[in-house]
Symmetry: C2
Subunit: 391 residues, 2 copies
Amino acid sequence: MALEERDFPGVAFQLLVPAGAVNDPEGLEGASTLLEGWLWKGAGELDARGLAQALDALGVRRSSGAGLEYTAFAASFLPEVLEEVFRLYALLLTRPRLPEEGFEAVRSVALQSLLSQEDQPARKLFSELRRRVFLSPHGRDPLGREEDLKRATPKALREDFGRRYTPRGAVLAVAGGVSWERLLGALEPLALWEGEEVLYPPPLLASPERFALRRPTAQVQIGLVYPDVGPEDPGFYAARLALEVLSGGMSSRLFTEVREKRGLVYAVSAFPAGVKGQGLLMAYAGTTRDRAKETLAVMLQEMERLAEGVTEEELARAKVGLRTALVMGDESIRTRASSMARDLYMLGRVRPLAEIEARVEGTTLAEVNAFLRAHPYRDPWVGLLGEVEDV
Amino acid sequence: MALEERDFPGVAFQLLVPAGAVNDPEGLEGASTLLEGWLWKGAGELDARGLAQALDALGVRRSSGAGLEYTAFAASFLPEVLEEVFRLYALLLTRPRLPEEGFEAVRSVALQSLLSQEDQPARKLFSELRRRVFLSPHGRDPLGREEDLKRATPKALREDFGRRYTPRGAVLAVAGGVSWERLLGALEPLALWEGEEVLYPPPLLASPERFALRRPTAQVQIGLVYPDVGPEDPGFYAARLALEVLSGGMSSRLFTEVREKRGLVYAVSAFPAGVKGQGLLMAYAGTTRDRAKETLAVMLQEMERLAEGVTEEELARAKVGLRTALVMGDESIRTRASSMARDLYMLGRVRPLAEIEARVEGTTLAEVNAFLRAHPYRDPWVGLLGEVEDV
């Protein structure tokens, strides 16, 4: 748990519960998604409608959803309702109704959500890429599988709830206008929450491969995945700065080479997408069929060229870019609560903003280039989706 | 122009230039989009690369794009680079190179962007809906039309630039850690910017109709459009509160009736989408083919039921919801600069947050219900996209 107190007339929290696709029960992929939906069907004295009305009456802006590694509950509200908000979330976690009669609507919504992915080509491609990148369950899609969603029973999910909705391994991050003392008081109803530790499988990579998914789409989607270092690695900040050189602004290499010079695409980007214990770098572009080959070639080349190093000028731009992003991102307590929670999950501690800034600032050109020589971005998983024959 | 000074180590601005799809030249739809892209190909002493590098070296986080009513340039950065940032944007506006050799790449990117819409069913549906809602050019898509993008010449666009990239009708909103005095100094290079007033056509609605676009998508997309009041209307806050009752939280009517009770969809929402001089309310849902009919029926019914009024309890929840959203949205200087600019464009003045809060708070149940009786949400434009026969 962590709090960052601020002089601000609002509070935001992010709660991570250790129930994600990676530890969904075998044969029940999507269980975390079903559970998260079912949870809102009532808790304690409140039915679904009562619960929704109670939170809306407090003005709580909230979102929640099951992801790959955990289920995240985010909420923001005015400080005066802090105690009542945590009382309701404690009810949700310790006394959910999980009522039989609400279950089919939850299953139906989950199936709709899975189906809607078929109409989102880029999302579909990266879901398929992940399946091929990991031998471990880290390749799963949090939306689950149709057959598993259809197979799920209220009984199996209630057992699963008891096993995975547990404070051991849960993470809570709070930012905004509230003191430690008051926060601790507000969290008292959560003292009733109990459970055992949940096991997480270790991530395990498959061998790189190339594949094409034929679909009748207008554009061809291109996705690349490279192994990378995570925030626990000494090379993390070097990698982060290299990524900024690659894809951080309009003068970044990918934007310049793929879009500006050649007009090959409307959108091209690279972004970190790792899991705990296994960093990953992904890259994306969408283009026309007749430009797909050239686009892919330029992307692969720019990734590989990183091993030759970046220039002093590029590094300076990357540093100022990251510093500005830190200052700007920092102003939102919601953003901050979210990255604090991610830090707690990944590293077991929150990195203060001053630490991140100092590490970015302190990383030298020699360090970045030594890192890039030692960790070349080569031999990725390559996926194409669209009217394509082969890779 | 407007400034909201804040004690914050960052500055954000939003600049609106009066070049949007509504005043794209006849036969040249997409001209604003082409111009915005072409603009970044160099200005004054800087070529495309030099310009991108100069802004990235200052750590400017920026985005820009042509929309329906104007082209928006947004930027955020640290206060110490304020003068240099405005010097570069002034260069862009007063001395763009618009170089022949960069033009084909710009056209290519615009065509890619238009093509990518074909793979986004919901976006495609609303683009088609807009075309049918308006008799005036407000039905255009800012991405333009393929034939027009292909027809555009550097000469025609340079003329268009001279006509529409003008300070008359442009809007600048700034928020963050900078004083009026300093801002005025930084804006001096913009004194060179000149031009005539740009004409905007008045919005003109067509008659409501229903249509279906057959596409081989997994889901059926449903879109509704209703005429509504804009921010200049005395009924605006009543309408805004009614929208919150309809679609503002988990206890909102649409979410409860369409998703929670019936599990018909994963996503359902209603949102304002008007233009200057003509408010619009739009509603969206995506569902399976066999549930499309029921989903549409429930949506139409909930919209029509608003005429019967909302309850005291619903209104109270709507007010606290909007108030919390105001506090939370307000924290970001980028969000604030953007809504200040929109206010300047729509109303000719910025509504202080305190005014919005007071108007929300002061709107009574009687006022909301009188508004809803007088402005029933009936007879919408209805569009479906997917494997459907008819509406």
